[in-house]
């Protein structure tokens, strides 16, 4: 998929992977709509992209809130054009320090599912119908190895990501033949604010720089038409083009 001229909507766009992906795709010529809850950080990223000659828009919203879903989809389409690529990057760990399931409040568990699972479902539902009508589009779900490994204290987050992975596979099965593709990408451990909250003692030297990871994520988006819809891809193991993509289904 040619990235230049595409309308790209990224949730969780004010920092970490989302902001870095926004910068990279805007540099490659995409019209980028960044959604986040945090105003100042979001404005800074949008201003920075514009200062470098890219097209970016910002919209304050909470993907975990039903009221905000059509606002996000509508504002993105109004400002950046009919959405070609939707990246579900926003997610929450729930309260930190992370806690055992036996110590997790049910409301906190529900909030994690609202942001990490129900929000992406709602937003995909609001956007993918238009994509199917136009005959093409890409939805990227950002996941984690916590979706496949049972790490103690990562219960709510891990369950939300496992369900998001499976949701993408079912979307892919249902959207087959429409031109709308689904990919799930696991970026690996990165030096982000979210990682620092979850694992404050981790050695930053062992963590990837989001700016480097997004170059590979952007390449995956660019190569999406060659990757089976519904694939789950570990970014660190993905090899572009020549030898064919190594999608881990």
């Amino acid at each position: 998929m040619e990235i230049r001229g595409r309308s790209v909507l990224i949730t969780g766009g004010s920092r970490g992977l989302g902001a870095a992906l926004g910068r990279t795709l805007a540099r490659q010529g995409a019209r980028v709509m960044l959604v986040a809850r945090g105003g100042e950080e979001l404005t800074r990223v949008v201003d920075e992209i514009r200062a470098q000659g890219g097209e970016a828009h910002g919209f304050l919203a909470d993907v975990g809130s039903k009221d905000d879903i059509h606002r996000i989809a509508g504002a993105a389409a109004a400002l950046a054009g009919p959405i070609d690529v939707l990246v579900h990057n926003a997610s929450t760990l729930g309260p930190t320090p992370l806690r055992l399931l036996l110590d997790t409040e049910c409301e906190d568990f529900g909030r994690v599912l609202d942001v990490n699972l129900v929000g992406p479902f709602r937003l995909t539902r609001a956007v993918a119908g238009g994509m199917a009508l136009r005959g093409g589009g890409l939805v990227v779900n950002v996941t984690s190895d916590a979706s496949v490994n049972a790490y103690p204290t990562w219960g709510a987050y891990g369950v939300s990501k496992a369900a998001l992975d499976h949701l993408a596979r079912i979307w892919a099965a249902e959207l087959e033949g429409t031109g709308v593709r689904m990919l799930t990408v696991d970026p690996g451990e990165m030096r982000t604010a979210m990682h620092a909250e979850a694992m404050p003692d981790a050695d930053p030297a062992t963590l990837a720089d989001p700016a480097e990871v997004v170059e590979r994520v952007a390449a995956i988006i660019g190569a999406a038409e060659d990757i089976p819809s519904g694939s789950r891809i570990e970014v660190s193991r993905w090899a572009p083009a020549a030898s064919g993509p190594r999608a881990v289904a």
Binding site: V46, H57, G58, F59, L60, K66, D67, I69, H70, R71, A73, G74, A75, A77, A78, L79, G81, P82, I83, A126, G129, G130, A132, L133, R134, G135
Partner: protein
Amino acid sequence: MGARRVRAEGGRVKTAAWPRDETEAERLLVVDPARGALADFAIRDLPGRLRRGDLLVVNDAATLPGSLEGRVAGSPIEVRLVGPAEQGTWTAALFGAGNWRWRTEDRPAPPVLVPGSTLVFDRPAGAAPPLRAEVVGVSEVSPRLVRLRFDRDGDALWSALYRRGRPVQYSYVRAPLALWHVQTAYASRPWAAEPPSAGRPLTWRVLGEARRRGVALAAVTHAAGLSSVGDPRLDAALPLPEVFDIPAATVTAVQRAHAAGGRVVAVGTTVVRALEGAAEGGALRAGEGRTTLRIDGRFRPRVVDGILTGVHPPGESHFELLQAFAPEALLRRALAHAEREGYLAHEFGDSSLILPRSL
């Protein structure tokens, strides 16, 4: 799009007062002008009424959060956005005191505004800071039709509109409508002042089944305008010029359907206006345009062969438009049948398919 209600004729058709859960079970009155025949179906039967090679064209405009409540010089006012106008301004219709529970024709007129009047939109309370707009032009048609310049544009304006605005409300509806009540299953750019409601009952299961049967699907984006405003002078001028965008793929799909003997079926009157407006010069052309086309029984469609629409009584502008597709006597017979059989009308009502050789 809401039908313009000029007279109270056909008032015996009952009204759907709330979106129904099972849209595929909503009723579909099939009218075949080639045979002069009527038959009752449900929305789920729509694919079976179409044939391989037919083309279904929908309007993918999302509905604007175009109803804004605020004050002007201390008096309450409601603004309904019609759409963007020249140089970053917006065309809007004004409503006086009262709220969505009042019929538009019963609402007091808004204060007369002049260029320079400032409107302050501070509802809902608490969402700081208020959005403001200045009147920069007043229409000669009616003092209630104005051009506004908001105090912000771009990202900041769209944020404020989605924070402050809500879809246009209807007095017959049970409770306030949210955006999710009015969006179609394929909505994209928010261009419609009121919902393109003919597509509302279409689920992706129905659209997918139509495709599997060899029916093609295409889109236009058409800025469906406001329905009745309650001001006779303004209502008589409706529909106002409307903006549309026809993708090249839709032009190709229309040509392919007609070349193969298929029928082009418009989902809603807005699609008819867009396609026929874009073909006014002769051939259907891709791209953005603007139409002032008024369609009635004298109009000979160049592109559209049939229409999926609501249940529209005589007296509505929609009823006039439908006469381009079926004789008035047949439409009146269809309406009498709909009344007798308990069909429901208006935005959340039942549907009719007017299409030659559909029975």
